[in-house]
């Protein structure tokens, strides 16, 4: 599937899901992927990120971070890394984890708020801002987009370098050119 898509779309392609070894990465890159996204494997073996970045270069290593808010209302906000689609807590602080991933060589972070994913209530701007401010690599905000204003907020309020939305496009509520034009009108630099 990766090679069929890579043969038809001439933009950077990131492949994620089940990447556990350098061999998996090699297979994906050979099939035409430009980047791979590592999630669970990084949690269980952080050194895998270092190994992958050393071998293939940071530019093709995206670390996916699934975070959930674990603080009570009124407390200083705190987010933790969760695995298994947001069901299993790991005890890892999300901001510290993001910094560690970048130190180990992650070239980009894909940050998903497991609280917001699928809710259409907008990004968790708190965790997006906290992580964007803490690291020196691009952060892609994900989870919760229901409107085009949410995309704008992710960049302007959350400080994300890029935003991800799936359902609003899949269900044809908006088109990608529409979303890009909307963001550009609000002063965000876009390739239209």
């Amino acid at each position: 599937m990766v090679s069929r898509i890579a043969g038809e779309v001439f933009i950077p392609l990131t492949v994620g899901g089940g990447i556990r070894t350098c061999e998996d990465i090699r297979t994906m890159l050979n099939a035409g992927a430009d980047k791979v996204s590592i999630n669970t494997a990084a949690v269980f073996n952080p050194d895998f990120v270092r190994e992958a970045a050393d071998r293939f270069g940071s530019q093709c290593i995206v670390v996916a971070i699934d975070a959930k808010c674990v603080s009570e209302d009124g407390e200083t906000p705190r987010w933790e890394i969760f695995t298994h689609g947001g069901r299993k807590p790991t005890g890892l602080d999300a901001v510290e984890w993001a910094k560690k991933m970048v130190e180990l060589g992650a070239g980009e972070l894909l940050l998903t708020s497991m609280d917001r994913d699928g809710t259409k209530a907008g990004f968790d701007l708190g965790v997006t801002r906290a992580i964007s401010d803490a690291v020196s690599v691009p952060v892609i905000a994900s989870g919760g987009v229901g409107t085009l204003d949410h995309l704008v907020d992710g960049v302007l309020k959350g400080g994300a370098d890029a935003v991800l939305a799936a359902s609003i496009f899949h269900f044809a509520e908006y088109t990608i050119p529409q979303a890009k034009a909307y963001m550009a009108e609000r002063g965000i630099e876009m390739r239209l």
């Binding site: 890579a6 001439f10 933009i11 270069g57 690599v137």
Partner: protein, 213 residues
Amino acid sequence: MTIAVIDYGMGNLHSVAKALEHVADENIVITSDPRAIRGATRVVLPGQGAIRDCMGELERAELRGLVDELLSNHSKPLLGICVGQQMLMERSEENGGIDCLGYLKGAVKRFDDKQLDEHAQRLKVPHMGWNHVSHIQGHALWDGIEDKARFYFVHSYYVSASERSQVFGATHYAGAEAHVAIGKGSIFAVQFHPEKSAAAGLKLLENFVRWQP
């Protein structure tokens, strides 16, 4: 009629070949065979990764002499991409200083990662993503491509050419003017990845395929 993508073990050759297939009627081959490269009507020199590895692998594949020959005799159009562009210069700062092919005058320098953007945020190195390419002078490979069109970049080092007449495109990043499109005679070379730059990139490849220098 064949376009040869030189395979010396470095880079995402598959993507370049697929994009060329999309715009060209010619047969596209990924090859390290000197006979196939000499017999091709056009040649693409890709490159990805560290420049020391690229130069080293080019030697190891015994293709350095052939590339020198293609560069000096201008027998056919050649397109350099990414490190395939950087290698054309005299020297690179990467890996503690590496001598390159020396076909064009100038050096390959590292972006300064201490520069701040307009919001006082540190600019990120590698320079990764879509950025504008300004046309410094006209060229057949710019046909149908707007000035300041965006192309896709992934790099920490950039070409700084000494001869302005050999610079065709520039991108400003981290306080530097990166010469992202350079050329001479039948040689054209770009820092960005046309094979990943959507419509503008495909147009550039199509122009290369039709180019009669």
